[in-house]
């Protein structure tokens, strides 16, 4: 018995040390990267990019399902993007509400009989319309097939060399597209870029723009703010700096269209289609031996509404874990394939062990302590010490992420917001982290059972012209 608990303890210890060490290293990398980023703001390439005729045009794709509440505001916001040339394609994925109807009222849609290129197989398209008010807006209606299928349909219709996949409820900053394209403009080898996603709850949004940044009033979204900061400012920056960025958020990502088409488009049989695409890009490009890059830009902001109810958040996290397992497992062979470099030898094993299965170990850690104590096993003090260490380390990473946000961006204007963020970044590890961990384990179980559904995300949307987003 003692041997078993000690074995578990050692495994848990290794897990904690490795994962926290990697994140600590990423935190240091993030400091340096953000420092350079701050320094470069004075001489940023952005206004040149806007004026130059050589800036590549972008097709913005918005898959939408039952988005009547917020789709008009979303599209309005996107039409205001500061970018020289782009088109917007909304893919109505068989909505059962009046998504098409509200778009028609707002933008005066006219049916057109377009010839679809058959680059990618998708569910049938029922109707294509173009807005008379803004001819750069196209709405494609099709039979329901899921987000990946909708994106593939968009890819069949998009006409520009790059495309941007955006969630229907996301609100982009005016220069988001411009900034997200900078890595591509500076280096045509970049095939995908992602920007940072921030939580809109508590912000004041009017006419498709965030006019005042604020923190959510409820605690659940507030914890998510901290979580996102840690994930983006530390995680993404870190992975991107070593050339193994595995996730470009489905909420906002830019891709080279031809590359994605050649790879076969999005995989429709997964809930993690955004991650799976990136992983596939890494694997295939490295196998081909072609130079390529996937970049993360910490500045172009996409604001999205976070779930404020436990039930919906839980569903989201279980789905995310499933998506993660599906994407990583599909390409697990990359670990042994030749030429996979830091992606195959480091990132994939890390994700497989720590991100995919780590939650199980962590759960064991939380469970083992009371069990060992009940059994009167000697190793209990050791385990407690271990637990406290992992929590203390976790707190450090959270607080450091807040410090990074303060240092790099200062998006939250009021002092009391900063204090609140700092306080909660400490509390984040005393309960919230454990709950998300439990959800992740549930997600793993669902994946083992072969569950495939998306579940419904009921969103309030930005239904009025100007109001505080759901706090």
């Amino acid at each position: 018995m003692q041997f078993v608990t000690e074995l578990v303890a050692v495994i848990a210890l290794v897990f904690i040390v490795v994962s926290n060490l990697v994140f600590a290293a990423f935190t240091l990398i993030a400091w340096r990267t953000l420092l350079n980023y701050r320094r470069s703001r004075e001489s940023a390439t952005v206004d040149n990019v806007f004026r130059s005729p050589l800036t590549p045009p972008v097709s913005v794709l918005i898959p939408a399902f039952n988005e009547e509440a917020g789709i008009v505001e979303s599209v309005t916001s996107l039409l205001q993007l500061r970018y020289p040339e782009f088109e917007i394609i909304v893919i109505d994925d068989g909505s059962t509400d009046s998504t098409w109807g509200v778009l028609d009222s707002a933008f005066d849609l006219v049916d057109v009989r377009r010839v679809m290129a058959g680059w990618l197989p998708t569910k049938p398209v029922t109707r294509i319309s173009v807005s008379r008010k803004n001819p750069s807006l196209t709405v494609v209606s099709k039979e329901n097939g899921g987000k990946a299928d909708a994106l593939n349909t968009g890819l069949n219709i998009a006409k520009y060399p790059y495309f941007c996949a955006i969630d229907a409820d996301a609100v982009l900053e005016e220069e988001a597209l411009l900034r997200a394209m900078v890595p591509i403009i500076e280096n045509p080898e970049v095939v995908a870029t992602g920007g940072i996603v921030r939580i809109a709850n508590g912000c004041e949004i009017s006419h498709g723009r965030v006019i005042k940044v604020g923190l959510p009033r409820k605690t659940l979204p507030l914890f998510q703010v901290i979580e996102y900061l840690r994930a983006f400012l530390v995680g993404r920056v870190g992975w991107s700096s070593i050339g193994a960025l595995m996730i470009v958020s489905g909420a906002f990502g830019i891709f080279h269209r031809k590359t994605v088409l050649e790879l076969g488009g999005y995989w429709t049989d997964t809930v993690g289609e955004d991650m799976e695409l990136i992983v596939r890009i890494h694997r295939e490009k490295r196998a081909e031996g072609v130079p390529y890059k996937v970049a993360f830009v910490p500045d172009p902001v996409c604001w999205t509404e976070a779930p404020s109810s436990v039930r919906i958040l839980g569903r989201q996290r279980r789905r995310w874990q499933r998506g993660l397992m599906e994407a990583v497992y599909r390409h697990r062979a990359a670990i042994f394939e030749p030429r996979q470099g830091v992606f195959g030898r480091f990132a994939m094993p890390f994700f497989l062990v720590i991100e995919c299965w780590g939650p199980v170990f962590e759960l064991f850690g939380y469970v083992i302590v009371p069990v060992a104590w009940l059994l009167g096993v000697l190793a209990v003090e050791f385990m407690i010490a271990l637990l406290i260490l992992s929590i203390a380390w976790g707190v450090l990473l959270s607080v450091a992420a807040i410090a990074l946000e303060e240092f790099g961006f200062r998006k939250y204007p009021l002092r009391r917001q900063v204090i609140r963020l700092t306080v909660f970044s400490i509390l984040d590890n005393f309960g919230y982290r454990q709950i998300t961990n439990l959800w992740r384990v549930q997600g793993i179980l669902q994946w083992l059972r072969g569950e495939k559904s998306w579940g419904t995300m009921t969103r309030q949307g930005f239904s009025q012209d100007s109001r505080k987003a759901k706090a």
Binding site: F50, R51, P53, Q80, R82, P84, S206, H207, R209, I211
Partner: protein, 134 residues
């Protein structure tokens, strides 16, 4: 010197300039006030329309890309309102493609200036526009 004075009009020209970039507002207001105009400012399209409805404008200068209502939206609404339809509009914008110029004039703008711009030139054009309509 370079101070322009309105010799044609008995009262100062009333001009509205709308732009979400405060630097542009600073520059335009400075030059127009030095030329003897009375200047109103707005930070977005909706504010611009509101001010136009409250005060009589001789000339309106609009940025294209503004929040809430763009320059083009504002022009369209002005042309649809009989009180505002006759007011000359100058579009001041960073968008410089030929298609943009065409769209601007088609929407109803009377003049078109691209950024970076010369405030002096702007002021001359404003004078010219006001003379044309009076």
């Amino acid at each position: 010197m370079d101070r322009q004075t309105n010799l044609d009009l008995k009262e100062p020209l009333t001009v509205l300039v709308a732009d979400d970039d405060p630097d542009i507002l600073d520059l335009v207001v400075f030059r127009l006030e030095r030329s003897g105009c009375k200047v109103f400012t707005a930070r977005n399209g909706a504010e611009a329309l509101e001010i136009m409805r409250q005060h009589r404008m001789n000339v309106v200068i609009l940025d294209w890309m503004m929040p809430v209502a763009s320059g083009i939206d504002v022009i369209e609404r002005m042309r649809a309102d009989e009180n505002l339809a006759e007011i000359p509009v100058l579009l001041l914008t960073a968008r410089a493609q030929e298609s943009d110029v065409v769209s601007g004039f088609e929407a109803g703008a009377d003049d078109f200036l691209t950024k970076p711009f010369s405030p002096r030139e702007l002021s001359h054009r404003v004078m010219a526009l006001s003379n044309r309509r009076s």
